[in-house]
């Protein structure tokens, strides 16, 4: 999701919000759809939470509430919130999941279903770091801040996450 600013609507707040929603809802949903490994229900929930926060901010008079930049910031935080909620449970599984084999090259004959399954297999932590780094194109330092980690720890996490994704793609394709 790109951070380009959208023109702000003037006039009645209701009309402005409706117009802004029409312009941005598909982009926000697509972002969450990718970031949640194609989990449609979850993408809908996060989209709803994001726009509700937007409306509340607009009603409070937040001047940037109806801009894509502000909306993207909210969406990213909603995503981080979601993955933090789920990371604790998955921490117990990570010991099982953590493998020491070297990653194989990416099999480029994968389908979207394989990609979806592979991302869905990742731990919440791995998926989040990949989303922030490669879907949002954030620098590692910013990813580290969002995840509450040091830059070094985030770089290590990225290495592990890429390896896990590669392995997961292999497994999903074989399946």
């Amino acid at each position: 999701m790109q951070g380009t600013a959208a023109p702000r609507d003037e006039g009645h707040p209701r009309d402005a919000i409706a117009a802004f929603y029409d312009r941005s809802v598909r982009e926000v949903f697509a972002y969450f759809h990718r970031a949640t490994a194609g989990n449609r229900q979850l993408a809908e929930d996060l989209t709803q939470e994001t726009f509700e926060a937007c409306v509340h901010a607009a009603r409070r008079g937040e001047p940037d509430a109806l801009t894509m930049r502000w909306l993207i910031g909210v969406a990213r935080h909603k995503l981080v919130d979601h993955y933090r909620r789920h990371s604790r449970e998955e921490r117990k599984l990570s010991l099982v999941w953590n493998r020491s084999t070297e990653a194989a090259p990416l099999p480029f004959d994968i389908t979207s279903a394989v990609a979806m399954a592979a991302l869905a297999e990742l731990s919440a932590e791995h998926r989040l770091v990949l989303v922030l780094r490669y879907l949002d194109d954030l620098p590692v330092a910013e990813v580290a801040t969002l995840m509450g980690r040091s830059t070094g720890a985030t770089e290590s996490l990225l290495v592990r996450a890429r390896r896990a994704l590669s392995e997961s793609l292999e497994d999903s394709r074989d399946a």
């Binding site: 929603y21 989209t47 509700e52 009603r59 909620r85 990416l106 509450g148 994704l165």
Partner: protein, 309 residues
């Protein structure tokens, strides 16, 4: 795996919302915009108590009226806290598990007049003098978990032990506090009338299925400017901490229980950790104007916390 390959994987997951979802959400948002429309907030992940509170405040009420009602509720919460203090004080308790280890003699537990009375069900008693004059709204303070752990009404600087808390611990204060609540699952200290000048909470397991991270995430997200959570330690355990300042009063039931609000324009600090399978949250707030002195004091107080046993 090269970077561009990872991006390619994400690119394969393009998706669009269904027209039904688009239309439904749009209508919902426009209802939120309309001051007279239903504005119950759901799916926040912060528990029904917040949702009910927000719904109660916002339903069919214009913005200015909302603020008044919010203030009324805030006042009622404060009144309810006063009630609990009075009632709790009236229960008396011979459990001396929380004792000032090195506090001056004045801080030790000389029974007050109220302590002489006995009431076995403090949370359901409604006939004290304080109740009669101040109860306004149907806001409730949640029932405590387990028995009280007696704390002196006034805490002078010194070290205090919470031997019967969910996670037994001790902490050292460098400034005076007053006891507001002290139960096994939470200890609340205050400063000034209705804790207006400062408050300090230690709470245990107050939110179902919470983690230290979600505790921070659920705290006044839209009503405060909050710094990014940073790793820290609490009693030697890995923790998350954050600081923020509220812009408007906001409910914070994830840390304080139903009806707990943080007032407007207050600086707060929060540290949360999982200790011995319990989520422990240490929260403090004070008027933003005194944050320069309050935050260092709280940092020192949090650093002094140690597990007992």
């Amino acid at each position: 795996m090269p970077d561009h390959d990872v991006r390619q994987v994400f690119d394969m997951l393009d998706g669009a919302p269904t027209p039904e979802f688009e239309a439904t959400l749009k209508q919902r948002l426009l209802d939120l915009v309309d001051a007279s429309g239903p504005q119950t907030i759901t799916n926040t992940g912060r528990g029904p108590d917040i949702e009910e509170t927000i719904a109660m405040v916002k339903l069919d009420a214009p913005e200015s009226s909302n603020r008044r009602r919010m203030l009324q509720i805030f006042g009622a919460v404060a009144a309810a806290v006063v009630i609990v203090i009075v009632i709790v004080a009236a229960t008396g308790n011979s459990d001396e598990s929380l004792t000032p280890a090195t506090a001056p003699a004045a801080a030790t537990t000389a029974p007050t007049t109220a302590d002489a009375a006995t009431t076995t069900e403090p949370e359901t008693t409604t006939s004290t003098t304080a109740v009669a004059s101040t109860t306004v709204a149907p806001t409730t303070v949640p029932a405590p978990q387990g028995p009280r752990i007696t704390l002196p009404p006034d805490l002078n600087p010194g070290t205090y032990e919470l031997a019967s808390a969910v996670v037994p611990l001790q902490f050292t204060t460098t400034q005076p506090w007053s006891r507001v609540l002290d139960f096994q699952d939470r200890v609340v200290l205050g400063r000034g009338p209705e804790s207006a000048d400062g408050e300090f909470l230690i709470v245990f397991d107050r939110f179902k299925d919470a983690t230290p991270e979600t505790i921070l995430d659920g705290l006044c997200t839209d009503q405060a400017v909050i710094g990014a959570p940073t790793p820290t330690t609490l009693m030697g355990v890995e923790a998350f901490g954050a600081e923020g300042t509220t812009t408007t009063a906001c409910p914070a039931s994830s840390i304080g229980g139903s009806g707990f609000f943080i007032g407007a324009d207050r600086t707060f600090t929060i540290v949360a950790a999982e200790i011995d399978d319990h989520v422990v949250v240490v929260f403090s707030s004070a008027p933003a104007a005194v944050s320069a002195t309050f935050i260092p004091e709280i940092d020192e107080q949090v650093s002094s916390m140690q597990k007992l046993g």
